[in-house]
Amino acid sequence: MQLSDNDQRLLQKYRDGELAGSEAEALKARLSNEPGLAAGLAELDELARGFVSGREATFAAPAGFTAGLLAEVRQLPDRIQMAEAEVAGSALVMCRRLLLAAAVLFGLGLCWHAGLFDNGRNETLEADPAEVQREMERLDELVRSRKR
């Protein structure tokens, strides 16, 4: 029997010892009456067996670890210097970012000034005003001749 998501979550909390007293009691009562639910709990236990078996398989701190670490700590600048260095580091990063932003803006400005961006004028034909005037007169003449 497939357990509902809600029942599976309840079982998980119960197994992890995270159900409040009354909820735990209610689930305990259900577990003794519902074999499917009890099987779900057994399955959770079974899935955790590999973790339980591996719990003790860990690396250990070697002798002299603390002494070695304290020697490293002694190499560090004192706390005030570290704080100052951190502030200086943050200021440096901020300056770098500002400079980078300024450089990008400057570059974009140069490109715009050099006409590298499409400003809609590229498709506009430019003509000498006198030539435009002549063409207008030619078209007027054409219209007049058609009317005649």
Partner: protein, 199 residues
């Protein structure tokens, strides 16, 4: 200078205040208090003893540098765990492209080291299950892997996990649920013989 008599009973808060006041011995006491726990946690992310030592040293140095930012709103060990988990996952992300050793080597290495042929502490089947579990865990997305490590290996409560991961209890619950589902699916896919039968 902070005048404090260091004993095993000295509270973390007092030790931290002493470290901030310049006491190296207080930091040593803090390290001694938590190094075993830290090594145990980092073992779940490391390939070998040397890598584990390097990471542990890195974590404690970060703790020393950042100690003045510790608010004291949560237990010191959850703050330490947070730094450790972040350091380990960053390290893994950097190292993932140059991993040479297989995951199972790690557990086998530890099991061989701990194995006493006259009195086998870890039966072969349990060791194999531990190896398979670690192998699957290593393939899970980082957020699922970490939450399973914190719950199943470290046996942290939901509250402690939420403090370490800086997320709410509902997120812990649902992420753990999904992580277990992903773990089960991977077990069914890769090792159907080890999947528990439903009663």
């Amino acid at each position: 200078m902070y005048a404090l008599k260091l004993t095993t009973e000295t509270s973390d808060t007092d030790l931290i205040a002493a470290v901030l006041d310049g006491s190296e011995a207080a930091f040593g006491t803090l390290v001694d208090r938590y190094k075993d726990r830290l090594f145990r946690l980092l073992s779940r992310y490391c390939r070998d003893q040397v890598e584990c030592e390097d990471l542990a040293q890195d974590v404690f140095l970060k703790v020393f540098r950042k100690l003045d930012t510790f608010q004291g709103s949560s237990a010191f060990f959850t703050w330490l765990y947070r730094i450790a988990v972040n350091t380990a996952t960053d390290h893994l992300a950097r190292a993932s492209s140059r991993r040479l050793r297989l995951v199972e080597d790690v557990v086998l290495e530890i099991n061989e080291r701990d194995h006493d042929p006259d009195n086998p502490a870890v039966p072969a089947m349990a060791a194999e299950l531990a190896t398979v579990t670690r192998r699957i865990l290593d393939k899970l997305p980082e957020k699922y892997r970490t939450i399973l490590i914190l719950r199943e290996y470290e046996e942290l409560s939901y509250n402690e996990i939420s403090a370490v991961l800086e997320c709410n209890l509902g997120t812990v619950e649902s992420r753990l649920f999904r992580a277990r589902q992903r773990f089960k699916e991977a077990l069914e896919r890769d090792h159907p013989d080890l999947v528990p039968a439903r009663g």
